[in-house]
Symmetry: C2
Subunit: 145 residues, 2 copies
DNA sequence: CTTGGTGCAAAGGTTTTGCACGGGG
DNA sequence: CCCCGTGCAAAACCTTTGCACCAAG
């Protein structure tokens, strides 16, 4: 029999939201575990299929959506490219290579002061911001010389 | 006969890039002229069709893409929603209503210092950033009370 | 048991593209 | 005149969804 409880806050969160921790969901979460990753749904799908060959792409999408609603996973919208996902973890921003599309983490505390500036210049009730830095990754920068 | 030259920097840019200023292209640009707008390709399409009933959606997409390459138009990537476009104009950021999807301009000088911070924390050659503020627009904020 | 989750496949929505023709410069 | 741009329609792409069955709790 498969152990379903793993007494992490992850499972706690799922339980409290009336979500079942299915095999599929657990494997998807596990795939997102290593930091510095920002896979697309399709990338998650092909990785997870190595463990669960019969999982469907629809299930991957449904789970990523549900997990992002619980806050365990974060949806990323970077450029006009395909949606990406990451495990929600310590505060950081992202850098996006305009040449190859690579996405890297940039560790940083959130810039709270820019929200304040925005509030002063608009009638919106600003709650936060999405910020992506654009530029060249080290590799493309070298190739470019 | 239709006047093709209009001796604006717009036409100059087009000429220098070997782009022809066609009737379609001119009407699309004109539609984007009033500030504070961020229409989707489809919205541009339906507006432009009032002037050019036979224009095709493909032409609208092709032109918005070309115009964004010349720098005359800016593509906006806001949340996971449909792509939006605006005429490139004085420096500002955008606020996105998480409830109704509305997009508003927020006048502001660019935050150059955050690029500096990002540079110090990554190996990317950072050239700029995409920044969208999230919150509630005045209307949704009222409805929410 | 009950009810939410799954696999499958089809549908949906947005954006791109191949092609033959037309018009800009 | 040349060849870029256009209209049309199909294709490509990404994401969502309906449905019958399955399995978590």
């Amino acid at each position: 029999m498969i152990t379903i409880m793993d007494n992490t806050e992850t499972t706690e969160k799922t339980k409290s939201c009336d979500f079942r921790m299915t095999r599929q969901r657990r494997v998807i979460l596990a795939e997102l575990d290593s930091p510095g990753q920002h896979p697309t749904a399709d990338e998650v799908y092909s990785r997870v299929r190595k463990v669960l060959p019969n999982i469907s792409l629809g299930t991957v999408y449904r789970n990523l959506e549900i997990l992002s609603q619980t806050g365990m996973v974060k949806k990323l919208h970077i450029g006009s490219e395909q949606r990406r996902y990451e495990k929600n973890q310590k505060r950081h921003y992202h850098a996006h290579c305009v040449m190859c599309g690579r996405v890297s983490d940039i560790p940083s505390d959130p810039f709270g002061d820019i929200d304040k500036t925005a509030r002063e210049n608009s009638r919106f009730d600003i709650t936060g911001h999405e910020l992506v830095f654009e530029g060249l990754c080290p590799k493309c920068n070298d190739d470019n010389q």
